[in-house]
Symmetry: C2
Subunit: 146 residues, 2 copies
């Protein structure tokens, strides 16, 4: 397991403990984590507070630059349409995601944004890393809430 | 001209003065503006700081709820993929946008997110309001920067 995806899974588990949909993300530059976050939409009363958006905002603030061209993003679940758009704007170099999201994903599913002509920057995409563990955390979360 | 779109155009003009791409947005509930913003990606060092995202975040914080089901969004330019996703998550009731964005839009152009099966909430969409003035502000901004 990648140590970076392991850190993203830690963020997903922390999100679950806060009652948020357990998705976690970290951003890496030169082998160092410069930002990490889990979902906070309920806690922050912010519909845009997905793990990816929060991590992108933190990384851009840390670097003092809204373009993260040398940065890689690790996220436990396939990004949604909003997050795929944000990843493109932030000029993320490589995207690693865990489980596919057949219902809400926008990379391999849904609008497949990075393959659309209206996408002006596309990261290299690597999928499936720790997909089993990512799915397990999500399933457990929703099972407890049924 | 709708008074709300006029306020969105004011935000676009203010954004231009700050050196930001001039797009403005306001959010209206019960006939009152509860949030307004122009682009701030450069000033805030935030790749997600589009007018729509900032207005959605402000409105959600003001109402103490990440769902804005009774709210309408007025924006001077067709929302991009990221913003269309955010508008859907925020459960915006009606979306009014000015000019079409043939290059980066995601409502009538690009991925047409609200028509995609992976979009789980779609606002009613009204287009073309003050489109000429919205386009004029954008064209002037980019002409000065050439």
């Amino acid at each position: 397991m990648s140590k970076f995806m392991e850190k993203a899974l830690e963020q997903a588990n922390l999100a679950a403990k806060r009652g948020e949909v357990p998705v976690g993300a970290v951003i890496v530059q030169n082998g160092e984590i410069i930002a990490s976050a889990g979902n906070r939409t309920i806690e922050d009363k912010d519909p845009t507070a997905h793990a990816e958006v929060l991590a992108l905002r933190e990384a851009a603030l840390t670097l003092g630059n809204e373009r993260l061209s040398e940065c890689d993003l690790y996220v436990t679940l396939e990004p949604c349409t909003m997050c795929a758009g944000a990843i493109s704007f932030a000029r993320i170099r490589r995207l690693y995601f865990g489980a596919e999201d057949h219902k809400g994903g926008a990379v391999e599913n849904g609008v497949r944004f990075f393959s659309d002509p209206s996408c002006h920057h596309c990261p290299d995409v690597y999928t499936g890393m720790s997909a089993g563990e990512s799915t397990r955390i999500l399933k457990e979360f929703f099972k407890e809430r049924r």
